[in-house]
Amino acid sequence: MKNPLINFFKRIEPDKKNSPFLHTVYEGFFTLAFTPDHVTSGKGVHIRDGMDLKRTMVMVVIALQLCYIFGTYNIGHQHFLALGEYQNWWQGIHLKIAYGLIQLLPIWVVTHVVGLGIEFYYSYKRGHGIEEGYLVTGALIPLIMPPDIPLWILTLAIVFAVIIGKEAFGGTGMNILNVALLARVFVFFAYPASISGDEVWISGLDKVDGRFIGAEYGWAHQFFDSIFKGVGWDTFGAGKQAVVDGFSGATPLALAYQGGWEKASAAYTASDMWWGLIPGSIGETSKPAIIIGALMLIGMGIASWRIMVSMVLGMSFMGLLLNWWGATPFMEVPWYYHFYMGSFLFAMAFMATDPVTAAGTQRGKWIYGFLIGAIGLIIRVLNPAYPEGWMLAILFMNVIAPLIDYIVLQGNMRRRARRAKVQA
């Protein structure tokens, strides 16, 4: 008890009988700060490791931080790019980051307040400790939303996803569907205007008489302005500028759907797509940030590399097949460029590898990943209604995953039974 922090925690511990809800909340935060001092005893077959659920979840959150940093920057970058200011990526970085923070922070706060509120309530009601599944869900949800998502829609989506998708099934670890994707799919079907089309991926634009103009800057921007003015940097100003000529706001995928790779690469260079300087959901654009996160997850043994590799294989296979078919310009997009556009890598690294909803067996993981890759690309290329396929493909395979596991297990049992007979 030398640590002053632990003494502080012990002193403020609420009484479990008199205020059970407060105690539940307290315990949630206490175990986040310290690992419990009681561990599994030496008897039995349990794994004895300091890496409990909380530590695992926090590692995923850490792996997502690069996406957060780049996403924050890219919200602002896309905004100024549309207005025709600070065209190069190194210009006006402070404005871009400030702009991104103003957009992203409310989304982040709402996600965590609403989601953790529900989580706390259900833990208290069930008499369980607070389970940490929501830390990752809450870190993922802001990254897969468009930067201008209205907060009330976000709130509804989270309430829906956490209650119907997770708590109804019994809480963390019992959900059938990926909770973060469920929140997104709710927005996608309930309020399609705020998450699809060409007009939602770039933040801070108003449409007046069919033309875009920059929205007026609010008090938060003026607050940053007062700081930047003091330091002598550029400021936001008043806003309300017209956008650059020929601006459409379409993502590379939307362009590729209309006119193949030529049209997409005419608007965005391949290197822009690679580094992530393209419009899209907040966290999905930057490929290096996602790949570093994915490598971190693999290195720490949290995410399954089998799913990632088989997903890449599945998409490459389907991409080659579509190249060979080549009926529309979109099918003729070289298969390797599909990695550049849209959210394939993000879905691969952080969504498909969710250990709860993915297949559990080793061979099952190969099948699961491969099918996500193949089905996702089919939805992306062949379906005119859905511009991107990974969300639907992963949710679909989440439902199929138990069946895959069942088939793999049955196959294994049959094989072993046969072997036993031969030897006997």
Partner: protein
């Protein structure tokens, strides 16, 4: 055998016209034995017609009518139906009643008939109707069968109307649209009570929930209703 038959026969004759048992026939399907949320019958039509309240009400009345009178008719002739062809006889009875409903609707309310289209005809295949015939009417007297039919029809109606109200308010911002009682609650336009496009409107952020128009939402809402019902009704504790 003979003893029990003679001893129970007078007791049956003394049954009151509308006693406790009869009342239970009416009230049980409303909650404890609801055809949709407990027996999980008739879900298909509950998903299909409930995007608005008015068609749901018409559908509910139609199904109640068909269950009640098919129960009554089947129960009246139950002793003359050969076991081997009872399904076909029941189907004929249901089909006659459904045709009556369909022609009546077509004659007196063509608009709503067009809106419900095939689903009126599909009452024939509604599992509630056939289920009640098999489970109740084939073994009970006409009056009680009739009450059972009404009760199950009302249980179905209750869920249908709850679904219709939720889906119409959040999916379209109206209530009873298409009927003379139409109330326009929220939406973009002059006719709505809360006009989201009016200058300075407090609700300019609002938009309708597109999920509520899809049949999937009805399934989700039924799931939530079942959840609430099972957690509040002690008789429905899962014993499986």
């Amino acid at each position: 055998m003979a003893d029990t038959a003679t001893s129970t026969a007078p007791a049956q004759e003394k049954e009151p016209f509308f006693g406790k048992k009869e009342r239970r026939l009416l009230t049980d399907p409303l909650n404890d034995n609801n055809p949709i949320t407990v027996q999980i019958l008739g879900v298909c039509s509950a998903l299909a017609v409930t995007t608005m309240v008015y068609p749901s009400v018409v559908m509910a009345i139609a199904v109640t009518f068909v269950t009640a009178f098919s129960n009554l008719t089947t129960s009246a002739v139950r002793n003359f139906i050969p076991k081997e062809v009872r399904m076909i006889v029941q189907l004929v009875i249901i089909a006659v009643l459904v045709t009556v409903v369909e022609l009546t609707l077509k004659a007196f309310n063509y608009q709503i008939w067009k809106q419900l289209s095939v689903f009126i005809g599909l009452i024939i295949t509604n599992c509630i109707v056939m289920g009640r015939l098999e489970a109740f009417a084939m073994a009970n007297k006409p009056w009680r069968s009739f009450l059972d039919g009404i009760g199950n029809g009302l249980g179905y109606s209750g869920i249908l109307i709850i679904l219709g109200v939720i889906r119409e308010i959040f999916g379209r911002g109206t209530l009873f649209a298409g009927s003379p009682l139409e109330i326009d609650i929220i939406g973009a336009g002059e006719k709505f009570m809360i006009n989201t496009t009016a200058p300075g409107s407090w609700f300019s952020w609002y938009s309708n929930n597109g999920l509520m128009v899809l049949p999937a939402s009805a399934l989700l809402i039924i799931g939530v209703i079942i959840w609430i019902q099972r957690s509040s009704n002690k008789k429905l504790v899962d014993i499986s």
